[in-house]
Each structure stands twice: as structure tokens, then as C-alpha cells.
């Protein structure tokens, strides 16, 4: 009961110096805001990133010369640059070694001669569409499906036919009012016959996946040179149960085609949806750690502010403390009054920080098309930390207040 009275007293004395209280709270608010904002953003993005990163089909894994875009350590860069390219020859020998396990091996090469544009008569696309060489497994490996027309066949790849499958954005730009099938379009100075279109897929991370053009990889390499090209090889395990077995076998096959000796390290990267998600998690952890450090520093500064203001408050209210003591306040009552004041400042600041952090984090997440989350765990941790800060920063001033001599403090003017 006394606690409720003390809480009321603490709140009313905070109301007396509103501006001062708010400024003191602001420090806590900033500290909590930074951590809650980041945690909210990361949590909100995680869901969309995990689904966005699942661009490989089910039970698929991929080999490439370079690691995926998400990586933290730059010190491996030199070693990776010195790797030899994965050539078409190597990829085809790999395919052959994997024949007993799976037929679904998607080879993929990216256009490396600068920006590329698709042209049909007077119609042109944006000057920087995505242009790749691949085979009949491209659709499965990248979770595309055919809109109209047909997919490549094994023969298309074997023979290196000059044909092309195009995404919906390119269809709309080049063929606003006619069927694209069997039309000839130009990319990178070469001519291809459209045999199919990709069904619309939408975008991931704000980047469209519908401005894509695919030609048979053999044709692609002979048209644009294979000297600088390093292929990505995506392989699908025949079933979930055989995934690990297939990966083991595939690594052996890769080592054979790359001509590695037993003591050599793998000179290629293996990744799967899981490894991409793990890579994201690593980045997210780094961002979180950064946010924790920043907010830790901000909160430390804020707690110094609280202690300072509480010391000022104790001095200003020396007379009041004397009066309270003269009419029978025990030390612990005075102690609690000032301690609770400090905790209330800290908690109110923290609540404001949580509110602003959740709003800002979700605002950011919404701009990146992620769904709204409320980070209950971090909010709870935030409030606990604020309580600890309030007690920590308020303890010394409160002890000072409780220890004041009643006679001296009654005389204080």
C-alpha cells in the first residue's frame, strides 16, 4: 500500500519538472529505440528474406566459383579470385558422373559483356535486362514455369540452337500487341528465335525477376565467348532422403572434374537454400550485435544523465526530505521514493523507445514489403534493462537522500 503511495509521489514530482524529465528520458528512448528498431526490422525481414532466398528448387544445391552475394569475410577474396573458372567441359563431365543419381543438373552462365538490351524491330527493353545461358533444367532449378510456348530440350542444348525464352517484362516491352512466339529478337548483337515465355514471378528484394532472357548454354557460350565465363551448376537430389548422399557424391564428382588432389581444398562453393539462409542469419547477427553495442553506449550515457538529474533532484528537495523525515518517514521510504522516480524515468523512456522503434522498424520493413511484427522478446528485455538502469542510476542518489540528517535538511533553504 505504501508502495502505491510512493509511486504516486514519484509520478507527481516528475510532473513538476516536465521538460527536465522528458529530456532525461530522451536518452533512454534513443538507446532503446536503436535496438528495438533494428531488431524489429531484422525480424520483419527475416520471413521475407527466407522465402526470397529459397530461389533454388526443392532438394537443390548449387556449385559456383564465387560465394553468394551475402558474405562477411573479405580475406578470402584473393584466394577465390585465383580459382579457375568452372568450364562447360567440366560441367558436362560432372553431369555425366552424376547420371546415376540425377538427371536434373542445371548449368547456368551469366552475360559478362556489360549491360544488355533486347530489341525487336522498333521495340526495345530497358538497357540492363538479365541475360543467361542455361539448359532445360533452368525452370526447375530457379522455380520458374513456362507461360506460353515450350521449354528447352536436351537437343536444343546439344545442338546449340539459337532460340530464347523470355520473361514477362520483355514480352510486354517487345510484343505489346502480338504473340512473341517464333519472332526473332536481338540481344548483344545476336539473333534468337523466341520459343517460349516465362510465367510472371514478381520481384524479390525489390528486384524484378521478370526481365530475364535465357538461351541454351552451348549457344550462349559460343556467341559470347567462354573464356571469362564460370558456370553455376545446380543439382537436384532425386528425393529428400537422398539429399545428403547426393551432395556427398556431387562434391566428389566436382573434385574429379576440377582435377583436385586429395590434399587440395575444394576450389568451388557449395550452397543451398539453407546455406543462403544461414548466410543471411550471419549478417543479421552482425547487424544485431552492432545495434546492441550502439544502444549499450547510448543507454550508458543515458544512465549517467539519470544519475545526474537524480542528484540534482535530491539537493533541490533536501527540505522536503527533512519534512518527510520529521513526520516519520523511514529511510527505506525515502530511498524507495527516489529509486522509483529513477525507475519511472527510465521505464517511460524505454516505453517510448519501444514504441518508436517498433513503428520505425515496421515502417522500414513495410517499405521492403515485409509483414509487420512486434518483437515481444526484445521489448521485454528492453523493459528489464530499463528497470536495471533506473535502479543502477537511482541507487546512489536515493541512498544519499535516505541518509540525510533530518535536522540539517530541515534547516536547508
Amino acid at each position: 500500500m505504501l508502495l502505491r503511495e510512493i509511486l504516486r509521489m514519484a509520478l507527481s514530482s516528475l510532473g513538476v519538472n516536465k521538460l527536465r524529465s522528458i529530456l532525461t528520458m530522451a536518452g533512454i528512448t534513443i538507446g532503446v529505440f536503436s535496438v528495438i528498431g533494428v531488431m524489429t526490422t531484422v525480424s520483419a525481414l527475416r520471413g521475407s528474406i527466407e522465402s526470397g532466398l529459397s530461389f533454388l528448387g526443392s532438394n537443390m544445391f548449387q556449385f559456383s566459383k564465387y560465394p553468394t552475394g551475402i558474405t562477411l569475410d573479405g580475406n578470402n577474396r584473393r584466394r577465390i579470385d585465383q580459382r579457375k573458372n568452372i568450364t562447360l567441359d567440366q560441367a558436362q563431365r560432372y553431369q555425366k558422373l552424376m547420371e546415376d543419381y540425377t538427371d536434373v543438373v542445371c548449368l547456368k552462365a551469366f552475360y559478362r559483356n556489360g549491360a544488355v538490351q533486347a530489341i525487336y524491330g522498333n521495340h526495345k527493353t530497358e538497357p540492363d535486362i538479365q541475360f543467361v545461358g542455361s539448359n532445360e533444367h533452368f525452370l526447375a532449378a530457379n522455380q520458374f514455369s513456362i507461360g506460353i510456348g515450350r521449354n528447352f530440350t536436351a537437343a536444343d542444348t546439344d545442338l546449340g540452337r539459337p532460340i530464347i525464352i523470355i520473361g514477362q517484362e520483355i514480352v510486354q516491352k517487345l510484343f505489346p500487341s502480338e504473340s512473341p512466339l517464333d519472332k526473332l529478337i536481338k540481344l548483344g548483337g545476336r539473333t534468337y528465335t523466341v520459343v517460349g515465355t516465362l510465367a510472371e514471378k514478381g520481384s524479390a528484394f525489390g528486384q524484378s525477376e521478370d526481365d530475364l532472357a535465357v538461351v541454351p548454354i552451348t549457344r550462349f557460350l559460343s556467341d559470347f565467348g567462354s573464356a571469362n565465363a564460370s558456370l553455376n551448376i545446380a543439382t537436384q537430389a532425386p528425393a529428400q532422403e537422398r539429399y545428403n548422399e547426393t551432395v556427398d557424391h556431387a562434391i566428389t564428382a566436382m573434385r574429379i572434374v576440377r582435377g583436385l588432389r586429395p590434399e587440395d581444398e575444394n576450389d568451388f562453393e557449395l550452397y543451398s537454400n539453407d546455406s543462403l539462409i544461414a548466410a543471411f542469419a550471419k549478417v543479421a547477427d552482425a547487424v544485431r550485435a552492432g545495434a546492441l553495442v550502439i544502444s549499450g553506449i547510448a543507454l550508458l550515457a543515458a544512465s549517467v544523465g539519470i544519475m545526474n538529474i537524480m542528484l540534482v533532484s535530491v539537493t533541490e528537495r533536501t527540505k522536503e526530505i527533512g519534512i518527510r523525515k520529521s513526520i516519520g518517514a523511514r529511510k527505506v521510504s525515502i530511498l524507495m521514493q527516489f529509486l522509483i522516480e529513477a525507475v519511472v524515468i527510465s521505464l517511460l523512456g524505454g516505453l517510448a523507445g519501444i514504441l518508436f522503434g517498433v513503428l520505425a522498424g515496421n515502417g522500414l520493413a513495410l517499405m521492403m514489403k515485409a509483414s509487420i511484427v512486434f518483437p515481444w522478446d526484445w521489448a521485454a528485455i528492453g523493459l528489464i534493462v530499463c528497470t536495471v538502469i533506473g535502479v543502477g542510476a537511482g541507487l546512489y542518489p536515493a541512498l544519499k537522500a535516505a541518509g540525510l540528517d533530518p535536522i540539517e535538511s530541515l534547516r536547508y533553504e
Binding site: L2, K325, G328, R330, S333, I407, L410
Partner: protein, 245 residues
């Protein structure tokens, strides 16, 4: 000098003294002021009974304030015995002293010492809050105490909205709300004009007649004359102790 605050002694009520409330035996108090040691009290013995109306007088430096702080359990003696209603308070720790101040002593100060941001009601409730009295009981008792000092219609005024006399009445209501054994007033009219001072002393007279035990510390003869017994201090010793003449 004929003072308006000094009615004839013969017409006054004198209540028979009750049991012992305060018993002081050979109390001394030393202060260190830098290198110097000040003997504020040099050996005082005093007995105060229930139903007494006592004035403690003395010039400044006589040890009057020190004695008042000690009687009010704000301070403890350097040596000697101090029993308050039979309990030895000379060696009590701070929280025990706070308990005595809360339940047994009602303070009235020269400068009123009200909490400036709280209304009259909350000021009067404060001792009850620290005594752990439940809100509705507390509220009722504080309202009654304010009504008793004639401020039943001013309960929600803050000190700065009240006159000096009204503030001192609030302080008296606060002092009495927890039914203390003694009312301890330090220069209660020192900050009031003489007319208001008369009113406050009339209130003290009424409280005495109603059965309160009152100790007034003052340097004014006119105020002391209201009491039934006067203790005069000089240089830390009791110079005289007897009924008001």
C-alpha cells in the same frame, strides 16, 4: 508592556498532570564545529507529564533548539538518559526514531514546513501514509483534523493559496492527525503577524483544554505566558523550572 496575548492566569483551566511522558536525566550534547567542541547541553534533567503545557525559553545559544530536536527525537544525546513513554530512545537507531516521531510526536515549525506542491489534505495525510493507514481511513481522519482547526473548506488548497495562519493550522492538523503523545511547537508564531499569532495561541489553548500535551519552544515571553509551566535555559543548563507566574 500589556500584550493582547496574555490573559489573566487566574481564569485559566489547569488540568491535573498525568503519567510521565518524557524523562530526561543528565543529558549532554556535544557538537564538533571544525576543531572546536561546542557543549550545547551540559547536563539537563527534566520530567514532562501528560496534560502539561510547557514552554521552553532561552536566548539564542542557550541550547533551546538542541533540546527541542532531542525532545522531538530528531537527535540523540551524547550522554545521559532519555525515556519517552518509558522507552529509552537515547540509543535508538534512525528507523526506530522515525517510528517514534511518526506515532508519538506532532511537530509544528516556525516556517510551517508544508510540502509546497501538495494540497492541505495530502500534507495532513502524509504522517498517516508513513504509518501505513489505509486510504479511506486516512482520508477521513485528515478531513476531520482539518475541520478541527477550522480549515474544513480549504482541504484542496495548496500552501501558496493559504494565508500564514492557515498554513500553520494545516501544520497543526498534520501534527495532530496521528494522535501523538505530545505536540512540539518551535516558535509557532514566529512567522505570523501578531493578530494571527493570537489566533494560533488561542488554538493551542483550546487543544490543551481538549487534553493535548503541548511543548512550545520560544524566546518570546508573551508566547511563554500562555503555558502553565516554563523551563528557562542558559548556556546549556536549566536556569529555572516552574509554573507561569
Amino acid at each position: 508592556m500589556i500584550s493582547p496575548v496574555a490573559p489573566a492566569v487566574g481564569s485559566r483551566v489547569v488540568r491535573p498532570p498525568g503519567e510521565l511522558v518524557i524523562e530526561i536525566e543528565g543529558v549532554t550534547k556535544l557538537y564538533k564545529m571544525g576543531a572546536e567542541i561546542i557543549h550545547a547541553l551540559r547536563g539537563i534533567s527534566l520530567q514532562i507529564r501528560r496534560n502539561e503545557y510547557l514552554a521552553v525559553m532561552g536566548p539564542s545559544g542557550s541550547g533551546k533548539s538542541t533540546l527541542m530536536n532531542m525532545l522531538g527525537c530528531l537527535d540523540t544525546p551524547t550522554a545521559g538518559r532519555y525515556d519517552f513513554t518509558g522507552k529509552n530512545v537515547a540509543h535508538m537507531i534512525d528507523d526506530e526514531l522515525a517510528e517514534i516521531r511518526n506515532r508519538e510526536i506532532g511537530f509544528v515549525f516556525q516556517t510551517f514546513n508544508l510540502l509546497p506542491r501538495s494540497d492541505a489534505l495530502h500534507n495532513v495525510e502524509l504522517p498517516l501514509i508513513y504509518a501505513g493507514v489505509p486510504p479511506h481511513v486516512r482520508h477521513e481522519r485528515a478531513m476531520q483534523a482539518l475541520a478541527n482547526v477550522g480549515l474544513g473548506d480549504r482541504v484542496h488548497h495548496r500552501p501558496n493559496e493559504l494565508s500564514g495562519g492557515q498554513r500553520q493550522r494545516v501544520a497543526i492538523a498534520r501534527a495532530l492527525v496521528n494522535h501523538p503523545s505530545i505536540l512540539l511547537a518551535d516558535e509557532p508564531t514566529g512567522n505570523l503577524d501578531s493578530k494571527t499569532g493570537v489566533e494560533i495561541m488561542a488554538l493551542f489553548e483550546q487543544l490543551y483544554e481538549e487534553g493535548h500535551t503541548i511543548i512550545v519552544v520560544t524566546h518570546e515571553e508573551d508566547i511563554a505566558r500562555h503555558a502553565r509551566r516554563v523551563v528557562r535555559l542558559r548556556d546549556g543548563l536549566i536556569e529555572s523550572d516552574g509554573p507561569v507566574d
